[in-house]
Symmetry: C2
Subunit: 366 residues, 2 copies
């Protein structure tokens, strides 16, 4: 789907809600709706008439190249500039993103609109809430393709490191993390999806351990949670390996998490309630007596953000729809001892989930 088609969808939403225009300030939403990737962008989508993309002088060339079909407004005070433009074009009701605009930002926006109206009618502001995020939750083909490439890079990077013996005792978590990052970049990623987690031994029991100089040792778990970014889209995958022979307790919790993760994946159906999806995986772990050792939600949407809608957890709300890209990532963490998490990125389809991260989930003993 083109950026123009995405704007048309938002235009339809705006019209339904009786708005003359929408002021999009969330930078990822601007990117999604325009293709512009600069660090400052504000978009005015008008129900009738041309849309306007605002940025500042640093990005004139880039904005023209990335969004050639859009009228461009260059203004250092970009939100104010675009808001004035809305007034100038007779916008009477203006939608805005109340989840993105701060309390101070709203006050400043109201001042600008009142000033620009110069005694005339001041546009009425009305939140569109997460209308653009709701669009973004359903990935189109272009987006799924970017996610597929991002997942393939992560798969390949890990496979290469394992094949080269880079995941061996004696190396540090930091070394492994940086090599994985460098490999993903060499394979064409723009960046790692987030700060790569490499956690070995007791550190593997910390869900979000930051890699440090801990040395990999025989008989320990090695948990790696990482991803690649391609065209702004994030992959997310976790694998847990064992260095040397696996002890019984390691094999036991590994198999438990793997069974839970399979149950979670199997529950990813169009129309499934996100709380039920979480429960499908969580019940497997709880039934084995490890409920208290699975301390986070089952998964989350991925896309232009590493965490986006839908949230899949006990506190989530809503149902899955075709085109949603999500993670399934249960874990069992035994404090001071070790932990396992297994995570995939998948796309929900009418024919069942499509797995994008293809690395084997058999317990890998290196």
């Amino acid at each position: 789907m083109s950026a123009a088609q995405r704007r048309d969808r938002l235009r339809a939403t705006a019209a339904e809600r009786g708005l003359d225009a929408v002021l999009v300030t969330n930078l990822l939403n601007v990117r999604y709706l325009t293709g512009f990737t600069g660090s400052n962008g504000v978009l005015l989508v008008r129900t009738e008439g041309d849309d306007v993309l605002g940025t500042d002088g640093r990005y004139t060339t880039q904005a023209r190249a990335q969004a050639p079909d859009l009228e461009l407004l260059i203004d250092r005070a970009t939100v104010a500039g675009v808001a004035r433009e809305a007034v100038r074009r007779g916008v009477g009701t203006l939608g805005y993103e109340s989840h993105d605009v701060t309390v101070d930002g709203l006050a400043a926006l109201e001042d600008v609109l009142a000033d620009a109206a110069a005694g005339g009618t001041v546009p009425a502001l009305s939140s569109i809430h997460r209308a653009v995020e709701a669009q973004r939750a359903i990935k189109d083909d272009t987006e799924v393709e970017a996610l597929r490439r991002a997942c393939a890079i992560a798969d390949q990077a890990l496979a290469e490191l394992a094949a080269e013996g880079a995941l061996r005792p004696g190396r540090t978590e930091l070394q492994v993390g940086r090599e994985l990052d460098a490999r993903m970049l060499a394979l064409g990623a723009e960046a790692p999806s987030f700060e790569t987690i490499v956690a070995t031994g007791a550190n593997s029991a910390i869900p979000h351990h930051r890699p440090d100089s801990t040395v990999l040792e025989q008989g320990n778990f090695l948990k790696i949670d990482f991803g690649a970014t391609v065209d702004g889209y994030h992959s997310d995958m976790t694998r847990t390996l064992v260095l040397g022979a696996a002890a019984d307790w390691q094999r036991e919790i590994y198999e438990l998490v793997a069974a839970s993760q399979a149950a979670g994946r199997a529950a990813l159906a169009v129309g499934a309630d996100v709380v039920a999806v979480d429960a499908a995986a969580r019940d497997v772990i709880a039934d084995a007596g490890h409920g208290e050792h699975f301390s986070h939600g089952l998964g989350h949407g991925v896309g232009l953000e590493i965490h986006e809608a839908p949230g899949i957890g006990p506190l989530g709300a809503g149902t899955l729809a075709a085109g949603m890209a999500v993670t399934v990532e249960p874990g069992v963490y035994l404090p001071g001892h070790g932990g396992v998490r297994i995570e995939d990125t998948l796309v929900v389809t009418a024919d069942g989930p499509e797995l994008l991260t293809l690395t084997s989930k058999e317990l890998l003993v290196l």
Copy 2:
């Protein structure tokens, strides 16, 4: 200065403003006031009584280790949990960060407070605006030391690359950028300060060019804008080199930018108006007829953010104070041709600016 001392300063500000407590939601402000570096943290600073740090279950261990002197509250809905705690402890007037809390966030906070008051008195909310950022603008010794180390790593990384001949014709911008990043990590940086800018030839005329596969060529400018992060503090430096012999036009704009940058540095005095500091450097370029080719502000504060207070530019406001860490980075960009920027990170002191980025600013011809 310890985190507890920083909280005491905020406590004094809160007391002056008649507040019983402050709810700090900006994550960097939480880090500054507690030492906690997790990705979810909310702090309650009480005028009288103990402070409370809120986070979620992922960070229990880390928060205890990084902020051992603080009472810890674990709650997935962290802002709500800490807000309820404020009500429970009888807070009548609660400060909050209106530049950080979104419009939706404020509405949710009001709901939580009303619910928690359960028919009793609902705390009155009052913005503290950027009170913590105002503290952060003046760096204490610990912070200056972190900045000094961050700058030293950037200096050394660039020196090593130059000495090894890594900045030679035939290599690409992306290769140079990634090597510089890897070198900074190897030297102990946590991360690059931002996406390293490497821009050669006509790309050097783009102020914020993103490195691509453009090949370095003899006779071209090579502009590198980069920095290292240490303990969360960012260094920021730009150097522009010439590959092979420098042409007259290159030497001319280089010397012009160098003179402008020296004038800007010399203007960094305690009490100086930021607009005047900008003008001191800008006038040098404007007098040479290149005013239109210097399209951005002169500099910005650096610290836990790569861009923070004070802004030093034509649209800035305020004066410099001892302990402020800032950049001075004029540039002249000739579209389609080439550009030069020279940037240092410095600390304002009563004895004049202390230069933290020590790489030579003589035109380096490689």
